[in-house]
């Protein structure tokens, strides 16, 4: 059976793509953000995951309002990045692992998660940039399974539903007949709001309590409704449900590897975290 080595979480701000392309990670503006990653690179070098299952949200690249899924699972042999309309470099394709994708899909439907199955799926910056952050080398060394959670159009799935989705995905991975090592990613957040008169909203106290809760009391954030999470963390801060889904997949006990929190990159309070399962 496959083994989950741990989980990774990160913000996924588009401008990260520009910073990496320009090689300005050590500039004063970017350094406090990129400094959060080397200890995680070291850990990944030790646990050597073969596969990454990624909870992320599409920002209007693969999905439009004509067919807006709540949960969508990729089942392709390859996932292409593409032009998102504002000029960050398009990255090379990511390799899929349809075998694990279909196993997850079968298990999720069995457990009454009503997923959309995607045999073709464009992946946007929320999926691609964390790979450049966690594996900064040229080629992505892991196979991937994208799992997209709707944060575009209300009603959004509740934090509790996303956490339980993560739990079910974790169970599916642990029952996958394979000796590969799997890492779970959750990308998005932390607090930020792009739109409206409240643009620029950031909530440091909540973010830090949330990051802390993922180790000590992972269900803490599931007490809040989506509306409460938007109120606390902003219209885009609600992307923190990706972190929750990741945490749900890891099982009961986790050990901290490394974390970092920095305000601001772009309009966002950025967080980075790695958790090991043993």
């Amino acid at each position: 059976m496959a083994h989950i080595v741990g989980g990774l979480a990160s913000s996924h701000i588009p401008s990260i793509g520009g910073a990496i392309a320009k090689g300005i990670q050590q500039d004063p503006y970017w350094k406090p953000f990129f400094d959060g990653f080397p200890p995680i690179h070291d850990w990944l070098g030790k646990v050597k995951p073969d596969v990454a299952v990624v909870f992320y949200n599409d920002h209007g690249l693969n999905f439009f309002l004509d067919k807006m899924p709540t949960f969508a699972v990729g089942a392709a042999a390859q996932y292409n990045n593409a032009d998102e309309g504002w000029g960050i470099p398009t990255l090379p394709p990511f390799k899929g692992t349809p075998d694990l994708s279909w196993h997850i899909i079968n298990e999720l439907v069995e457990k009454e998660f009503d997923v959309v199955t995607c045999q073709e799926m464009l992946v946007d910056h929320a999926f691609t940039l964390p790979f450049k952050l966690f594996w900064p080398g040229d080629a992505c060394p892991v196979l991937t399974v994208p799992i997209c959670i709707n944060t575009v159009q209300f009603p959004l799935p509740s934090a509790k539903r996303c956490y339980n989705l993560g739990k079910a995905v974790g169970d599916a991975i642990r029952s996958w007949d394979s000796d590969l090592n799997v890492v779970i990613l959750g990308t998005g957040g932390l607090s930020h709001q792009l739109d409206g008169e409240r643009a620029g909203h950031i909530n440091k106290a909540f973010d830090l309590e949330f990051m802390d809760s993922l180790q000590k009391n992972p269900e803490w954030a599931t007490q809040f409704s989506i509306h409460e999470l938007v109120e606390k963390t902003g219209t885009q801060g609600v992307e923190l449900v990706m972190w929750l889904a990741m945490r749900g997949a890891l099982g009961e006990h986790v050990k901290p590897v490394h974390q970092n929190y920095h305000i601001p990159i772009s309009n966002t309070a950025t967080g980075v975290m790695a958790l090991a399962t043993e």
Binding site: E84, W86, V230, I263
Partner: protein
Amino acid sequence: MSHKPEPIFGTTLFDGDQAQKGYALNKMCYSFNSADNRNTFKADEEAYMLQYGLNAQQADAIRTRNVLGLIAAGGNVYYLAKFAGILGLDVQDLGAAQTGMTKEEFKAKLRAAAHQ
């Protein structure tokens, strides 16, 4: 939801009401994923808006680059960001425009949040 929750200051939730109202506008902005479509729009904005069936409120907000107006007309920020990209605006430009600050003031507000 039959009963909408309490409004949050300065925040429009993109719910069914907004999604219905903004469908044409968001569909146009979604098309801006393609460089060809961005160029067609830039060459003749009025013709492009007509093709997507924008209503008067939406077309006016596009013409005047009025971010809050675009949201009021049903625009969703994820699709509107692609329109902002055409204009060369980043999210601090948008933030400043929506909060009535200069860009420098808006950036200072963001930095200040580190010391909350």
